[in-house]
């Protein structure tokens, strides 16, 4: 059966729009791209310049301070394994990509989340966009990212940011909205301005929820690294991608396990940051 109405030129119009954008604003995005790639390269080189054992010790120490000795021991063993598998530089590249994507995602997501929590009108605009960002297959972002940001890590991190920001926004909104009504009343009753209410009551009380969102953002960024490898992001995703192309299941698993280890370390540490220390004592 065929439609009587001719096919709407949706694909064509999107292409035309993207072409137009590419020719007119790509000089901005390219400059941005250059800045970010300098940042990423600098950080990767910096971290690789440090001896791996020092970095491993530092991560284990951080894990111990933030999440206790079990996580610290796990991190230590896991990272030593990665080093031994000769995946150290790929791990550092991936970690850097995740870190920078997460920082950008939080820098964008937190203010947007606050705005959407405080204003119903903003929420009505932002929420459908979040749905769109999260459900659109992540591959699709990669295609237009290339003309704007070029092949490589920057395009990957831009696609990653688009894919990974929504949880930070959503959970910031949730965290602020779930502050009990009588605490808001108390803040108002003592004459707080909106800014004082936000910074002294709403945000501090939302921190555990916001951190849960940031944790999700980190995990989503990590899940993008393999996909991003298709446009030359390198890192552990690159190892997996190469193994797929050469049909080397062993190497593929090595890199896959490395991603899992990195994911677990990042997850356990970010889960604990921002949690109320008194809540941990009483076992909540």
């Amino acid at each position: 059966m065929t439609f009587m109405i001719p096919k709407l030129p949706l694909a064509h119009s999107i292409d035309v729009m993207l072409d137009w954008l590419t020719t007119h604003i790509s000089f901005i995005t390219k400059a941005f791209s250059h800045g970010i790639s300098v940042l990423i390269d600098g950080m990767v080189h910096g971290l690789l310049w440090l001896p791996p054992w020092l970095l491993i010790a530092a991560v284990a120490l951080l894990a111990w301070r933030a999440a206790g000795w079990r996580v610290a021991l796990g991190s230590l063993v896991g990272l030593l394994l990665l080093w031994n598998l000769r995946l150290w530089s790929a791990t550092v590249e991936t970690f850097t990509l995740v870190l920078i994507s997460t920082l950008i995602a939080v820098a964008v997501g937190l203010p947007l989340g606050i705005a959407a929590a405080l204003s119903k009108r903003t929420a009505r605009v932002v929420m459908p966009i979040l749905d769109f960002m999260q459900t659109m297959p992540a591959f699709v972002y990669l295609i237009p990212a290339i003309p704007f940001f070029g092949l490589g890590a920057v395009s990957a991190s831009v696609a990653t940011v688009i894919f990974a920001t929504p949880p930070t926004i959503r959970l910031t909104v949730l965290g602020i909205r779930q502050v009990p009504k009588d605490l808001i009343e108390a803040a108002d009753a003592f004459g707080s301005t909106r800014r004082q209410k936000l910074f002294k009551v709403q945000l501090p009380m939302a921190v555990p929820t916001i951190m849960a969102g940031v944790n999700q953002t980190v995990m989503l960024s990590l899940s993008m690294v393999v996909i991003a490898a298709m446009i030359g992001a390198g890192g552990l995703g690159g190892e997996v991608w190469r193994a797929i192309q050469r049909l080397e299941p062993g190497k593929g698993f090595e890199a896959g396990i490395a991603i899992v280890i990195l994911a677990m370390i990042l997850d356990r540490i970010t889960q604990r940051i921002g949690r109320d220390p008194s809540a941990r004592e009483s076992g909540q």
Partner: protein, 405 residues
């Protein structure tokens, strides 16, 4: 002096308040207005609060008392009417004036404490000062001072969740006291506490009030509490004021059947005091009397003990029948050595509940004395029982009459 004057205050909730106000003016009932998707919080409420007065606003849930209280610091913006505080209409305040009013003039204590869980006890108490922009050292000092006032010295660095309910509400009170505002709004402040702690807090509030002379508007649904602490009571029903008066006026002259029904269930033992139940001490002994004289007075009064007073009515203590008998058989001539000087005495204000407790331990009549220790009267068991029985009868009677009519 008048501190707060509320004039024709009305608050309706809903999408089109003007429409609901028109219906209200047309004399529609709350139920009719609810059908239009609006709710009447309070309707045409007027009253005033004197400086240093503790005014209780009392009513069942849904009577609009919380809405009314939240209008006083504009957490609820009134739909109509005026609130004058120190002669200024606060409903006309702009944003800056309103902040200043809330920061310096009026503070609030909440039913479920509303403490900030992420702040220490001292930082909670200092919150009001912090938003005023008081320097850290000074606000810490003033918060510690306020915490000391409510008996929480030494808990400054604890977290609210480490404290019991009663202690948490003390923090809530300290937070309100620390800003040194003239007016204190208390929203069912003691309702979430268990009964014993509630009574402690009521007494503590009374003693704080004697020292600080704040103007307090206190909300409760508990008439016993209202009668206990209120200088005057505003009784509310369906968003309207039913009666305003002192506890005695409300008990003795209920304005209508609704108030009567309320008053019916009052625990009279907490309302009546020694002053109202005591009788005249007909027979008393004097220290100059001999044992035989006292024994004769006693048989006339058929008692097992007798109060001993000076000529100027200063109470010395009491002598018992057994002690007098022994003295007579030993042939002693005076009773001064026999006087028990540690016998319990009552204030005119001692509530009946406390008297009943005392009577369980002390079998003899209880003397009521003034602050110079002069004997005013005595409270006996029959008088207590009588007073309780009569108070039931007087409040039950009009209720029955209205039921028959």
């Amino acid at each position: 002096m008048q501190k707060i004057r509320v004039e024709h205050l009305t608050k309706v909730f809903g999408p089109h308040p003007e429409q609901a106000l028109r219906l209200l003016d047309a004399g529609k009932s709350n139920a009719d207005i609810r059908k239009t998707g609006h709710a009447v919080g309070i309707a045409d409420v007027s009253f005033d609060v004197e400086e240093g007065e503790l005014l209780v606003i009392m009513g069942l849930s849904g009577s609009g008392k919380s809405t009314l209280l939240r209008c006083l610091n504009l957490l609820n913006v009134p739909s109509r009417g005026s609130i004058f505080v120190d002669g200024e209409d606060v409903t006309r305040h702009g944003r800056e004036q309103l902040l200043d009013f809330r920061r310096r003039k009026i503070s609030m204590v909440f039913q479920h404490f509303a403490l900030f869980p992420h702040r220490s006890v001292a930082d909670n108490a200092a919150y009001g000062l912090e938003v005023q922009g008081v320097a850290p050292d000074e606000r810490r000092a003033r918060a510690v001072e306020a915490l000391e006032l409510v008996g929480l010295k030494g808990w400054e660095d604890a977290r609210p969740n480490q404290l019991s309910g009663g202690m948490q509400q003390r923090v809530g009170l300290a937070r309100a006291l620390a800003v040194k505002s003239d007016i204190l709004l208390m929203d069912e402040a003691f309702s979430a506490l268990d009964p014993l702690i509630r009574r402690d807090m009521q007494q503590e509030l009374a003693s704080l009030q004697r020292r600080m002379k704040k103007t307090i508007v206190f909300i409760t649904h508990d008439l016993d509490e209202a009668l206990q602490i209120g200088d005057r009571i505003v009784l509310m029903k369906d968003g309207r004021v039913v009666q305003i008066g002192t506890p005695e006026e409300i008990l003795n002259h209920p304005a209508d059947a609704y108030v009567e029904r309320f008053v019916e269930n009052v625990d009279m033992s907490r309302v009546l005091t020694a002053n109202t139940v005591m009788g005249r001490a007909r027979e008393v002994a004097h220290p100059q009397d001999g044992p035989r004289t006292v024994l004769r007075k006693m048989t006339e009064g058929s008692d097992t003990s007798m109060l001993v007073v000076e000529r100027d009515h200063t109470l010395l203590g009491s002598v018992t029948l057994d002690a007098l008998d022994a003295a007579v058989s030993e042939g002693r001539k005076d009773i001064v050595a026999l006087i028990q000087r540690d016998a319990p005495t009552l204030d005119p204000d001692t509530p009946l509940t406390d008297i009943i407790n005392l009577m369980a331990e002390w079998p003899y009549r209880l003397p009521v004395v003034d602050d110079q220790h002069k004997l005013l009267g005595v409270v006996t068991r029959p008088r207590v029982i009588n007073a309780l029985a009569q108070s039931r009868a007087t409040v039950a009677e009009p209720a029955e009459r209205s039921a028959n009519a």
